[in-house]
Symmetry: C2
């Protein structure tokens, strides 16, 4: 019999300890994400995996927002974020800072996620797109790495916050 | 330059082909999931990875529901499901059918997800719990395998539909 851990027993970082903790060199770029629920879930997942920063672009709403808060459970106050209206400008800035641009999108010649071998300590900007339209083609064109989550069913469309979870988990478990 | 694929170019199964496709021997058990958005997202993820069936237990709402539909995008019509009020009865039935019970929960002695080595062709019932309370202790007590998604941040609490995505992806990519 295995006892469930109490919240107080989980080795949770304080907000101060989180800010000082060494992050993984990964940032998320949210390219025109419509749903604040999805944005909130992205913050919560980024908190769980010690991601460096979230770039909110285009129509992606920045905090503060009651709906983001509800899904993020306050992680929007711990994970660093930056709003930049123009996604192209955001990714150009990230490339200048040494981040390799990675779009998660169903495109010709994409790499299946399980085949992607991220390099430890390399900086990646992981770009996720709008719930309906995906990552803009002009942003896809800027990315040397294009990843796809292989899907076999009738939809070929995961919820974007689920996709963010899967991709982050996959990369984090490979580089840690 | 990599062209984004049109919806019509994705190798999506028709609902009929999906019903006949060979599924992975994995079922989801949703133990008192409150949010219909989370239930809908679970259907959508189960569709993407060709999961056998979803067991909805306790307060987990079954389809049809407008909110489930909105998040599932219709996957609630392709993925098989069964409603069983008593989660204990559902897991007892699954065990009798040869499924190994796996709870995803933060418990003493849990196995970190990346260390879990699922066996090909073995049948697993993956049990996810309520958004606040998690999987009930009495259900945890029935499970020979207890998995945990390692988390490092301030919350130690992923959205349940994100957790379902991460666990399914992890297992599917190991057994395919």
């Amino acid at each position: 019999m295995s006892r469930k851990l109490l919240n107080s027993e989980l080795p949770r970082l304080s907000p101060e300890a989180f800010k000082q903790a060494r992050k993984l060199p990964l940032v998320l770029v949210l390219d025109n994400i419509r749903s604040q629920h999805n944005i909130g879930a992205a913050f919560r997942t980024a908190d769980a995996f010690l991601i460096e920063k979230i770039y909110l672009c285009g129509i992606s709403s920045p905090p503060p927002s009651a709906e983001i808060h509800k899904a993020a459970l306050g992680a929007e106050d711990t994970v660093a974020w930056h709003y930049e209206k123009d996604t192209m400008q955001a990714v150009a800035g990230l490339r200048e800072k040494g981040y390799t641009l990675v779009a998660i999108e169903q495109v010709e010649g994409s790499v299946p996620l399980h085949d992607f071998q991220p390099r430890k300590n390399k900086k990646y900007a992981l770009i996720f797109g709008n719930e309906v339209k995906g990552v803009q083609q002009q942003i896809v064109d800027e990315c040397p790495i294009l990843l796809e989550i292989p899907q076999q069913g009738t939809k070929h469309s995961l919820n974007v916050s689920v996709s963010i979870g899967i991709v982050l988990w996959n990369i984090v478990s490979k580089i840690q």
